[in-house]
Assembly symmetry: C2
Homo-oligomer: 198 residues x 2
């Protein structure tokens, strides 16, 4: 019953994750109150998104050029490699400002060890890159879950004969967490990995 112009925007917003009928309707009607400059900016940004966003030829990070800002930076430490699940993790780590090495984006995690095709998540590219480079340490920074464990084990297995230190980010109780709300698996991990107070 809305005119087509509004129905189209409602339909389009429903493509977005977590946006249902009601929210899409509210957002579409809200757009009507914005300036034309703003809605044009939004339309152009969406139109150009896929064409102007590439993946870095070296690490797989998002980039507007062939090579991303990390791989292009001559001041980065070229012998440490951090393996992440997606480019979002790179943003999160870069915000910390404590890591100055390189990255490799996997594009997902191993879902099952049966019928694993390492090319699916760019593991082949990772192995190839490591063989052709001079990395001293590989830090696996995928999320701690079954798929994360399998992916870490797989990478460790393939690389174990090379003279490279392979580490995994610590898992345990997050800082500031209330002990009673920590889930059982995390708590068990925290016990297993307990550290001597020095």
């Amino acid at each position: 019953m809305y005119p087509k112009s509004i129905l189209n925007v409602i339909e389009a917003f429903k493509y977005l994750p977590g946006i249902g009928d009601k929210t899409a309707e509210r957002m579409a009607l809200y757009l009507l109150n914005l300036d034309k400059v703003q809605t044009d900016f939004m339309a152009d940004a969406i139109k150009n998104l896929k064409d102007n966003t590439k993946r870095c030829k070296v690490c797989g990070n998002f980039t507007s050029d062939d090579i991303c800002f990390v791989c292009n930076d001559p001041t980065r430490e070229k012998n440490i490699l951090c393996v992440v699940e997606d480019p979002k993790t790179i943003i999160a780590i870069e915000k910390l400002g404590v890591y100055h090495g390189m990255y490799h984006v996997l594009n997902g995690l191993i879902k099952t060890l049966d019928g694993l095709d390492p090319t699916d998540i760019r593991l082949d590219k990772l192995i190839e890159r490591i063989n052709n480079s001079d990395f001293k340490e590989i830090i696996i920074a995928v999320k701690p879950c079954l798929e994360g464990e399998m992916t870490s084990l797989y990478i460790n297995n393939v690389l174990k004969d090379l003279n490279i230190s392979i580490t995994r980010l610590a898992s345990g109780i997050p800082m500031g967490a209330d002990m009673e709300y920590v889930d059982a698996i995390t708590l068990e991990k925290a016990f297993d990995n307990r550290k001597k107070i020095s």
Copy 2:
């Protein structure tokens, strides 16, 4: 640290109501996984929204033409007028399928009786329309709140000398509500407006 193409979409999504940094980021990255056909559809829909959405010259409803689907429908009852706050209410009422009269969109409610400018919320258009038409009943369907009450009283005051029945949608306890969660004002209203069981 994201390329400009992604940052622009994140920025644009933050124009939307209730969308903060994190959600805008999630939605922008999600768009990257959609088909180009879908993102183009979204971009075009947003681009055309404001240009192709007009307000009905008669009632103020959203329309793609000069006159909306209700005002254009010869089968509607031309002597009943329902006054609503915004076009969204028309959609809600039309979904019921029980009302077959005409509508008038106010574009908001009276915020204060001091310094009231009836042109702000198209009250002048309403009065003009009523004077030039043959309405027998005006149903005021604005939300029950202080501003809604003021708006109803104002309309009633202006029209009281005309031979028109002016009604207001009943307020009270919503169907299916748990009594203990009904707020005090609603409960008081429900007592005041109690109905004899016939």
